[in-house]
Symmetry: C2
């Protein structure tokens, strides 16, 4: 692309650094901002810098928070002995949206993925093990995505906490509500037969 303005080119290059945004989309976004009143750009950039400099991570669960201890960990009505291990803050939001969970979380900040250069030391695993060691936890629920990386991470953590004799569980995997059986993949369908549940449980609705 030939730019008539170096300043525009620089802005487009920076916007195109964002994941999933190519040069063309970046140019479209830049031209949109140029068309809008300059306040919109100001609000946008101020909000981004405020987020980048002021946001904290909860000292206990590593969830994103405005304070040193997030709202969930600070809530005395939640069961602090029940810990749900998730990949990132989006998973916390997804589970909170269901309204089905009254325990607390532990946000790893990613999954073990050698291809992407992410090893166990880059994740918040040590603090989880510490919590379990100190006897604060009675059950750990693994709620990572059921991918190769997710399973690897689950197993890595499981091996280190099993000696403490606490309950470990995984979120249920199987056919999603509303899915057609014939389109389900073999592994999911096969496991859903092996891990079948009492019929009465399948009637439970949130």
């Amino acid at each position: 692309m030939e730019f008539s303005s170096k300043i525009l080119e620089k802005a487009v290059a920076e916007i195109a650094q964002l994941p999933g945004i190519g040069k063309r989309t970046a140019l479209r976004l830049a031209l949109h901002l140029l068309k809008q009143p300059s306040e919109q750009s100001e609000f946008l950039t101020t909000a981004i810098m405020k987020m980048r400099t002021e946001i904290k991570f909860c000292q206990s669960c590593h969830n994103i928070s405005d304070t040193d201890c997030c709202e969930i960990c600070a809530n005395p009505n939640r069961n602090h002995a029940l810990v749900c291990v998730v990949e990132d803050v989006r998973d916390v939001m997804a589970i909170e949206n269901t309204g089905q969970y009254r325990g607390v979380y532990h946000v790893l900040g990613g999954k073990i993925s050698p291809i992407d250069g992410v090893g166990p030391s880059q994740l918040k695993i040590a603090t989880l093990i510490d919590k379990v060691k100190q006897g604060e936890v009675s059950e750990v629920i693994f709620a990572l995505s059921p991918t190769m990386e997710g399973d690897t991470t689950n197993f890595y953590i499981y091996r280190q906490i099993k000696e403490f004799g606490i309950v470990t569980s995984s979120i249920a995997r199987g056919i999603a509500v509303g899915d057609e059986l014939e389109y389900a993949d073999e592994v999911t369908l096969g496991r859903s037969i092996l891990n079948r549940i009492p019929f009465e449980n399948s009637l439970k609705t949130p």
Copy 2:
């Protein structure tokens, strides 16, 4: 979506103001910036604000420029009597990329579109008419997208400049190179027969 941080919520809301970016994508981008070194957010926001405050529009053709007169208009080797009317700066870049055009441009900044509330007065049409009036222009090439709005805009301008007796032309419309005839729409195919060109001309390649 339930946010654990008001600061994050605000940043996501601002990012989601951008066209084509929903709340989920905005959250993904925000979390990406949080994972990266803070310099990336700084570079991004600085580049956006620099663009928004320092970019100028060429006084002659209204193209985006770092200076009062854009590089194309300032180039004495270009034919200033040949003016190509385009919608926005992306069209200038697309035509410049072909390397086939040695005239100058006139960037309208949009198309007449009553549905979107865009009338002729919001576009840079008056300055184009002025240029033609002052006898600076020998040919105007209409290069707006061949949509209802593009055709309306072309015709609106055409009616005002035809009295000055200059040449007016439109970029060729027809079957794109590499397209299958059977999949072409009727209007395009019909017009491409009505506006057929001498066979020798069809052999021209850039």
